[in-house]
């Protein structure tokens, strides 16, 4: 019954989103139990946990912005409002990586996801496909003002089950961090050690430019996985 109500609500609200640009602000919440220091931990582990917790303190202050219209979306950390003293902190890059670095672009018609990201000092433009390969379960919960459904899928390259919550009330296949393809906006992403959750949503009739990234070495997701695997192999060899 609940799911039927959600579907009806989505049909009513779909007209609202037809001609507007929507701007979503997401915030990161660390899963704190993952970072508990035990007496038995070695010094490297203890200091690394402290470092990650400090990076989280920086990341909690970030605004992660997703902008979309009916056709396309882009999402990234809003770096223009980050204080210069924060940017000069050596933990800044780590804090960004805790959420997700780079610019994500999604195009509904082309079923395309682009990720412009700097890795090992080089700029890449990583191409992926915007498809619905999710398993939608029966779990639902209210996040903010939206009733959301849970969706999961297995990530082969990262060997984990990915979990997101989406709102059929907002019938666009977009989400933050390149996640998408679902019949509703993704409002929450459960990451390894954190949750990225929608905190604020605004609608505007004004034209908001959604820029498609073009710079960077063009590479597919599979090619990137192969390349990073080799980089790790070399790093491991050099350090053994």
């Amino acid at each position: 019954m609940k799911i039927k109500l959600i579907i009806i609500a989505s049909l009513i609200t779909s007209a609202i989103f037809a001609q507007t640009t929507t701007i979503c602000n997401y915030k990161i919440l660390p899963i704190s139990e993952k970072y508990k220091i035990n007496d038995t931990d070695d010094e490297l582990t203890k200091s690394t946990i402290k470092m990650i917790l400090n990076a989280f303190e920086i990341a909690k202050g970030f605004d992660y912005i997703l902008k979309f219209n009916q056709a396309e979306s882009s999402s990234q950390i809003e770096e223009s409002i980050v204080n210069e003293s924060v940017k000069s902190n050596y933990l800044y890059a780590i804090a960004k990586a805790l959420i997700g670095k780079g610019i994500y672009y999604q195009n509904r018609k082309e079923k395309l996801v682009l990720h412009q990201n700097e890795l090992m000092g080089e700029l890449f433009l990583i191409k992926d496909t915007l498809v619905n390969d999710w398993q939608i379960g029966k779990d639902y919960k209210k996040i903010g003002e939206f009733m959301c459904l849970k969706a999961t899928k297995k990530c082969n390259s990262c060997n984990k089950i990915e979990e997101v919550w989406f709102a059929p009330e907002i019938p666009v296949p977009f989400g933050p961090l390149g996640y998408g393809g679902l019949p509703g906006l993704i409002v929450e992403v459960k990451n390894y050690s954190s949750i990225l959750s929608l905190k604020e949503i605004t609608y505007t009739k004004k034209e908001v430019k959604i820029t498609r990234p073009i710079k960077g070495k063009k590479i597919t997701k599979d090619e990137l996985d192969e390349m990073t695997g080799k980089i790790r192999d070399n790093a491991d060899k050099m350090n053994h």
């Binding site: 993952k34 970072y35 490297l44 582990t45 200091s47 690394t48 946990i49 470092m51 990650i52 050596y90 933990l91 890059a93 780590i94 960004k96 990586a97 805790l98 997700g100 670095k101 990201n117 890795l119 090992m120 000092g121 990262c158 060997n159 984990k160 390894y192 050690s193 990073t228 695997g229 980089i231 790790r232 790093a235 050099m238 350090n239």
Partner: protein, 72 residues
């Protein structure tokens, strides 16, 4: 007398230089390399804590490794 004056000037100059060097040391930002002499081990440990094993999140590993190397 001349030697005495020169000795006093030398002592003051040395103390001044040492203090200035110490102040410079104090004002240096705390860097990853101060904490982790081994960036590779630090990045692997951070990644294991972050996502449960090594090689599970290259982006994160690269961020820790690059930050560490960049400040060495």
């Amino acid at each position: 007398m001349k030697k005495l004056v020169l000795s006093i000037v030398f002592v003051f100059a040395t103390v001044g230089f040492t203090n200035a060097t110490n102040e410079l040391e104090k004002s240096k930002p705390i860097t990853v390399s101060c904490v982790y002499p081994d960036c590779w081990a630090a990045a692997n440990t951070a990644e294991r804590l972050h996502c449960g094993s090594v090689r599970c999140d290259f982006d994160y590993w690269d961020a820790v490794y690059s930050s560490c190397m960049g400040y060495e």
